[in-house]
Symmetry: C2
Subunit: 308 residues, 2 copies
Amino acid sequence: MSAHSKQDANKPRIAFLGIGLMGKPMASNLLKAGYKLTVWNRTEAKAQVLAPHGATIASSPGNAANADIIITMLEAGPQVKAVIELALDKIAPGALVIDMSSTRQSEAEELHHMLAQRGVHFIDAPVSGGVLGAEAATLAIMAGGSAEQFTRAEPVLSAMGRPTLVGPAGCGQLAKLCNQLIVGATLDIVAEALMLAQAGGADPAAVRQAIRGGFAESRILEVHGQRMLDRNFMPGGQVKSQAKDLENVLIAAANAGISLPIAEQVTEHYRSLLPITSNADQSAILLMLEHHNPGKRVGTAADKLPQE
Amino acid sequence: MSAHSKQDANKPRIAFLGIGLMGKPMASNLLKAGYKLTVWNRTEAKAQVLAPHGATIASSPGNAANADIIITMLEAGPQVKAVIELALDKIAPGALVIDMSSTRQSEAEELHHMLAQRGVHFIDAPVSGGVLGAEAATLAIMAGGSAEQFTRAEPVLSAMGRPTLVGPAGCGQLAKLCNQLIVGATLDIVAEALMLAQAGGADPAAVRQAIRGGFAESRILEVHGQRMLDRNFMPGGQVKSQAKDLENVLIAAANAGISLPIAEQVTEHYRSLLPITSNADQSAILLMLEHHNPGKRVGTAADKLPQE
């Protein structure tokens, strides 16, 4: 056993289902914090890398599910539902399922009801911060559920980042969608501002420098503004993920009975970008704007784009 | 003479035209930096407050204009043009006019040409940062002009903030418009995200807390997100200024031959907000969104609104 795995018998036993790009560093941080961890992944080899750090490898979701807390970190809502259904008979009443994947708000609410019928608790707790945030245990974790179950989950979630309870079940997913809406729209508007700077005869890099630190300042202007100037569209957060999240924003808005005009327009822009590139970094929204303004271009660098 | 006015005979003599809310602290910082300053204001009493700090008070723009550098800080382009025309006969060839007002890009280009015909140099150098930034000498100063004249202006501008040369004459105004475009659009999108959070059943204040520090982070989410939750629409940067700037964004975009769809939509939102409130803080864009979503509201506080 490695130095990482000083496991504590008083701590809840945790199952972690989904050891992908995000799940691996998140599970690793739980091991470092001393939790007894059983992990499962569809492709078992990816889970095996955690064995030397003290994780028990399970051959199926059901074999992992005999735990106090079951964490899922999967691609989207349908995958989460399928995996939970496979494990359902083995999850003990009173256990807590924490889904940290990004799903629709309605999918989280559905899981909540399905599990409640068996006396199993549920929190949706999607994250923001990417692989770097997962590795550094600085993820923003947006949690939906009861105050009681959040208190139970909080020490576990704190080993992976900064959890905040934002409302009842489903609201974690809603908060993540609010996050993605701001991110997607800010990307779109930074692209428009840089194009205005360049097409109007200014140096867009100097304009970005000049306005940084004022009221226009944002993480997007800082990170993705530079990406656009460099035309570096290697991911990063991909166009296809942003497009999926924005479609879910519109579904959540419709379910809430509201109309969000900027969200609708930004979603349409990302939707139209998909046939051009889906694997590129989301800052590639600049390409969509350039597509609609033939002959206009930001920066002089060659495009760096991933394979489709 | 006060301790503030250790004037240096080797420094350029400066005229400062327009001692308003912004002009007063800016001129004050020039006096503190040791510049010999002549000031003029339409309402002379506002200029008189600088006399005890070492400023010479002029009774007309022409009486102030015999200086090495003439700075204007006025309401908009037409006022700048009128004041410069009043002073024109007294401005010496080789002098430098720095317009720090916010105008259209085309108005700055016009001033540049008018002054160049008389051998007078010109830099447009609008600012961002508000009265607090002016007082603290931390304004973002976006300068358009030649590299040579920028080098001449730089020490003077640095006494008021952080100057950046962004391109030829007119480009300072263009950069300011890029700034305002990002500010106005980010306000609109933060309003949409907070409404989605609340209408979807989450606590919008907790959602804002949860997503802060991630990729959704911006000065607007920090400052104006809190204003929206508090429903504190006391200015601040006013709706009418933001609406004027956004109209100028669309004019600059049309002149540059580009189409900016988000900018168009955000401008339409601020335009529609004017009949509801023009003196409120620009975060009142939330009221427009609520106007289009009857019965939906962010936060529980009573509206704090200025008189119209």
